[in-house]
Symmetry: C3
């Protein structure tokens, strides 16, 4: 191991949180997993991601059954994941396929395998019953892999419960206060609507004939010109969100407005920390790296210096308490977050009952 | 939020410590609270401090009832404290006075309010029953606001239980060992006396005709000249201390000696961390900024690099145990600290009984 | 205290681990204890090390009975250990021999004393019943004090349970994967043998006629030349290991090969942290400081950047669980570690029974 990797987080003996398991979580950007494997913790379980000799991505238990080393800190040898400590190699089925020690006897230890699908430039992981993993349930983020669109994107790790992060996207009315330079008035002052549609939850913001923020005006090239504004958030349980942001000259039909589509995907690491994978795309200024750098900088700043400190501190001020037990005051902007939280509770409860029945 | 504020500390679900509540704690220097509000944690409770449109300082619950954001990391708008997350505004009575979202309906949530008094250049907070908050109980630190005196001052946050910090001031015999350059022999070698007077506890040090330390000699301009020395500490429950330090040519009547008055106020943040507010004043070299800088530097060094590491480590070595259960060896210098600890125990017990009776 | 010392670690009220007590642990390098005392934590107990006026090293309780200050952060005055806080002085019998405060009454508080022996350039501490401390039980590391040998050495503090660190030395088959530049093939590919001999456990590696690693070839001056290689590890409970590494031209009798003897001593600080004291010696290039620096650099890199991160992460991935309860997969290389773990369990159980019987 030539240079130190990020230490694995400290974990309690038993998981502290209860999670929805039979669903797709975003594990990583597909292009973040290249020759080197990755070590991650999802839902308080260590997971190693690697690509085999055919470039197919796999997710297996991230702890070697021999001496508990983080397999994702190893390397890939002959298409198998090699433990960084004593060199056992495992394939994508979790089987040990190489023992480099004298005799070379293959132990029949088998790693837990997590269904993993590469789609829309993302790696999607299923943390529940593999028999139920249906790739058709992966939400459509086709624009992330469509050459018509060019995305700036990121992935980070943040303190705070993942539901606080999905609430944050479902209630964009925080924009005026948290992101004054970026999005300003439209979200706070616009007309809002929240609704549910099967297992999905939606927030909508409409604001006509007003000035965009300085940041957004510059990005869409409409400085000092009033615009119509439409924003819609689609939440997929447990915490994968699509944000459809459109703007156009007053009166432009909504479907003809300029679109900036975004992904905000939250995967719990522990009850106190969250993996945050995000992207925002455009279908103009393609290939313009300077433009992309400005856009990426503005979004990174918004997430890391504006949203995250407030969510981290709100999380700490909850003192480990249950959200509902703390009797939060409900405002108009909470229509999306509240629906999503209740839906998630129902889905987790349904899973619990199915398991109890089985 | 343009730049990141200090994160709020992690807090357990229920408070771990037992505190005296019906008393005045120092919340902050009055001039530290200007246009920007402050977020603090006192006695394991989050508190937001802010000034209304008339400049009057208020202390309210530091957690928004909506989404638990730290209100003290917000701003003041139209004289009200505005939440940094979704912009609700609260006044000094804890009432929500502005909802910036469509409709603008004012929720009837009400923040807990803490009596706060601005006096002697300090903000004093009452963490107990507001009906019992009597400003007449605030100890007299008039010299802090008297133009005759010029103070160097500071405020910091330190690891260790607050009683270890007040013990440290009540037993100045540590000076020879911890602060050799600053105060030297007088406190360790001088004659000591400890007594109680109602709820107050006092330590006195008298040392005649000896050399002051290098640091103090330089400050009072008496290098290489023997001096008489008098020191008196007055403790006010639970942990606000006045230190009266006097020095003069041998034989000078005590009341005619040069006086350097000090404040040492300790407010528990958690059972393991303490807010430390301090000042030392002089009635000479007024307006001399260079002199003030040297004096401030010497005192800051003494507190942050000499006292605090030892108190932090002593706190850790107590391993969370009760002070008396650890059967500390009692030396002559403990006469003040022991009286103060016993008095504080009695006051806390009295409060418990009053509450049980009510 | 002119500059800040390493803070003492946070400790729980009761020890969390169970340790072998009637045995010798390495406390420090003898030359690391000079005029200044040292503060350490062994087996979750604070210990102060100091030398008296005759230069004799002593180990006493590292917490002052007065105000719980870390005695090892004090100084030595008149041959006694002086508390950094209020100046009480203690001698090597744990008795208070000086009270600098008026009256000077000597309290009859007595510090716990730990038998300490200076031998083989090391300080050995006995954390159990002093009546049973027999210096004859100290393993022979005479080469560390023999002028024929010149050692590069170090001491560090590492995250992870100490048994994971001793396992690491008993199973050198990790070398190919963790230390590719340093030791390479011989340990992973060589013939291995493990055996027990009284309370001692041994691992042996033999590998004939092969190239040494780049790092080792350079050190022993055998680049590009095949060598015979012999390695033997001797484990002394609970975690002091001798590593006998020999190499020579093919066919050279083992006892005539070039020897590089090593010490690897692990002393638990807490169940999660370990003091690691190490040395490797040579009987050539004596006095060659440049050579020594390269050798030291290579070994430090191997321990701090290669072994430690993997062991820290493996420790974390054990999630506080018992090693055997986690049902580790056993490979051929574990023959030493498994024997040592079982022996240590037996020795601890024997100690428990003796204590129950007494």
């Amino acid at each position: 191991m030539a240079e130190e990797r990020t230490p694995v987080p400290a974990l309690s003996a038993a998981p502290r949180g209860t999670y929805l398991r039979n669903c797709w979580y975003v594990a990583a950007w597909a292009d973040a997993l290249a020759d080197e494997p990755l070590q991650r913790t999802f839902l308080e379980e260590p997971v190693a991601l690697f690509r085999d000799g055919d470039g197919v991505a796999h997710a297996v238990e991230g702890r070697c059954p021999h001496r508990f080393a983080p397999l994702g800190h190893g390397c890939v040898s002959d298409g198998a994941l090699q433990c960084p400590y004593h060199g056992l190699r495992f394939d994508g089925t979790g089987a040990c396929v190489h023992n480099p020690h004298p005799g070379g006897h293959l132990p029949d230890a088998r790693l837990k395998v997590y269904p993993l699908v590469e789609r829309h430039a993302l790696l999607w992981i299923w943390m529940g019953d593999p028999a139920k993993a249906d790739a058709a349930l992966i939400p459509d983020f086709g624009w992330l892999a469509d050459p018509k669109w060019e995305a700036v994107k990121g992935a980070t790790r943040a303190e705070g419960h993942y539901e606080l992060y999905s609430d944050n996207i479902l209630d964009l009315s925080h924009a005026n206060f948290v992101h004054p330079a970026l999005v300003a008035g439209a979200f706070t002052e616009g007309e809002r609507r929240f609704w549910q549609d099967g297992d999905r939850v939606h927030s909508e913001y409409v604001h006509l004939e007003d000035y965009l923020s300085e940041g957004i005006s510059a990005i869409v090239g409409k400085e000092g010109v009033k615009q119509d504004f439409y924003g819609q958030v689609d939440w997929h349980a447990p915490a994968v969100l699509y944000f459809d942001f459109r703007t156009g000259d007053p009166g432009t039909p909504r479907e003809e407005c300029l679109l900036l589509p975004s992904l905000h995907a939250f995967t719990p690491e522990t009850p106190d920390t969250t993996h945050y994978v995000w992207a925002t795309a455009r279908d103009f200024a393609l290939g313009n790296e300077e433009f992309a750098a400005v856009m990426r900088g503005a979004l990174e700043y918004a997430f890391e210096y504006e949203d995250m400190p407030i969510i981290r501190d709100s999380h700490r001020l909850m003192r480990g308490g249950d959200f509902w037990a703390l009797k939060p005051l409900i405002l108009g902007g909470d229509g999306g977050g509240v629906r999503a939280r209740r839906m998630l509770q129902r889905l987790i409860e349904r899973e619990r009952q199915e398991q109890a029945a089985a």
